[in-house]
Symmetry: C2
Subunit: 365 residues, 2 copies
């Protein structure tokens, strides 16, 4: 368990705060604090460690040689959002990366995860990517999830201490409980770089996000690598809402694209110039067109719930935690076995800036 | 004069500090403070107001209709750096925008400005753009200055109170003293928008930076507008040194380009996609190539001085005021009537990042 004195200090410094939601009372770490990872949550009967940051390499070959001393597993990095699923009291719930109980993921996990796992393994946490076009948080989704969402387990973590199970243990549990995992491409070594490169190229072609590399030993190092297409897609999808993200979001992705080209020896072809420019310009143009049509910049989200109560809780959470975003036009309708929730996120900063600029306003910079 | 109590408060809050340079002692405002503009300087015999910020419009027609109530003058915005030139004691000196005495501009102003102006008008300040390929600060320069620099007067300011002379007074002084001014395109009204647009298009074609609009009345409003080509060029020139600038520098320029296209109805043609992408990619590639060749990202600067003493003072100032930039490889040689100073600016952040990434390092973002 986490030292009681550190907890008191974290509360005093506002790095940890009490949350009450969906009948639970718990302590949530809103920032990294000493060795405690942001998103760590302390419930009455257990602590759930935050999911640790994974560093990114920009150069595939150099990065692998530099970071890894022993063979490593190569897995797909699925483009969704990260949840930690576990049992507390008699319920199984899902925590977001930041440590909020996610109503949507908690409501839907029964559709994708075999719950007997948690009865038999109350000390373990399933770390899952929830991905698909119908989720309440993000606009991007993998090309092979065409509707709704799916859960993909990529790690199994011990509540106590936050240690990850080994790849073998993880794969054996996934198989025993028929749990859905991310695609595993194999166990490779630094000299297999050509194989890694082929995996990345194939994922890029298929519009998938990238890979996570995990050293095959206890406490091994990890690194992620993102495809060129995913970097371009991030720019395009978010450009219309540029002010919502730190501007480094963009400079960082441009640098990734150029270093990817540099490593692969891709010529600075007209194609790449055009695609990068297109990502920015189309994204922004769409926002401007929407502003002129509707007087606001917004995106529509739809997601399916099993229970009406959790759909309402989702709206409440979004309204409470979204900064500079207004949640509007909520509708909730029963369709077959589901409650279908739809709503718009209005990006207030971009809406305000475009209104100011299109109206001829001055900007001092 | 500025209220003594405000000065004391500014010093206490570190918004104003004493400077000693080139035999002068003065007080320099390093930030805006109450109504005092950053760069304001107080000498023993006079104060020199900071040059006030000019807001930018992103939409030409709407901006002009919104901002201006009376006719306005349209002048070229020259791509250089801003200095205020004035007399203190028996010397004429040039202050940078931030309020530092600029050794280079001070050394060279005699070559471009008729100094008898200052004997006869000790209460006036010439606000000039210094532009050309051989200057110690910036890489961009106007297409019509092929070597060295030139001075372009764009405003005349009273020391007392910081008021600008009217356009008529300014033009008459420039003519009387044969002082070089920026190009003035005329006095126009909001209904002349087509004329303004033609001026901007012509400047864009010629690779010139943009225009400044000045309402033709005392204390009138002002606004600037930048051409598409200048925005693209800013991105290209600085991309190799991305970390030195706030990332908003880039998002802001992309937004300008898209709104310019939006207003002009330019189709989202392949040309523009390509040019925006090219600006980022070529700029960064050049930095990577340079890093691989030389182990650092740097730019070379050359400028011509009349006196050796001022060249040495320039190097001293650059070393003292450059953040995250190392000044290296200085050389100073007599060539004809000039002392030619050359040096490199090494961009430490970009050098460090590229070294880390190209070596396979991890980044946590």
């Amino acid at each position: 368990m986490i030292d009681a004195q550190i907890i008191r200090e974290a509360i005093r410094k506002k790095k940890a705060r009490k949350e009450e939601f969906l009948g639970f009372e718990y302590l949530r770490f809103s920032d990294d604090f000493h060795h405690i990872v942001r998103g760590t949550a302390i419930f009455h009967d257990c602590s759930v460690p935050g999911y640790p940051h994974i560093g990114r390499i920009f150069m595939l070959e150099k990065g692998i040689r530099e970071q890894f001393e022993v063979p490593f597993w190569v897995e797909e990095k699925v483009d969704g959002y990260n949840v930690r699923v576990f049992k507390t009291g008699e319920r199984v719930i899902a925590l977001s990366r930041g440590g909020y109980i996610c109503p949507f993921s908690t409501d839907r996990l029964q559709d994708f995860l075999n719950l007997s796992f948690f009865d038999e393994n109350p000390d373990l946490i399933l770390c899952c990517e929830v991905a698909g076009p119908e989720n309440p948080y993000i606009e991007e989704s993998p090309p092979y999830v065409n509707s709704d969402v799916r859960f993909f387990v990529f790690d199994i973590m011990r509540k106590e201490g936050g240690e990850f199970l080994s790849q073998e243990e993880k794969l054996s549990i996934l198989s025993d409980y028929a749990l859905p995992g991310v695609e595993v491409f194999g166990r490779l070594r630094a000299q297999d770089i050509q194989k890694v490169r082929e995996i990345v190229m194939k994922l890029d072609e298929e519009g998938r996000e990238g890979i996570v590399l995990k050293e095959d030993r206890k406490g091994g190092r990890r690194a992620k690598f993102i495809t060129e297409k995913a970097n371009l897609s991030d720019i395009k999808i978010t450009a219309g809402n540029m002010l919502q993200l730190p501007a480094e979001y963009y400079t960082n992705r441009i640098l990734r694209i150029v270093l990817f080209m540099e490593e692969e020896g891709i010529e600075r072809s007209r194609r790449l110039y055009t695609e990068l420019g297109r990502a920015f310009i189309d994204g922004l143009f769409e926002a401007i067109e929407q502003y002129k049509r509707e007087g606001k910049v917004s995106r529509k989200f739809t997601c399916r719930f099993r229970t009406r109560e959790m759909a309402l809780a989702q709206i409440e959470l979004l309204k409470r935690t979204s900064k500079h975003i207004q949640i509007l036009d909520e509708s909730l309708e029963k369709e077959g076995d589901f409650w279908v929730l739809s709503f718009s996120k209005v990006y207030m900063n971009m809406t305000g800036l475009l209104g100011h600029l299109l109206g001829g306003g001055l900007v001092f910079d």
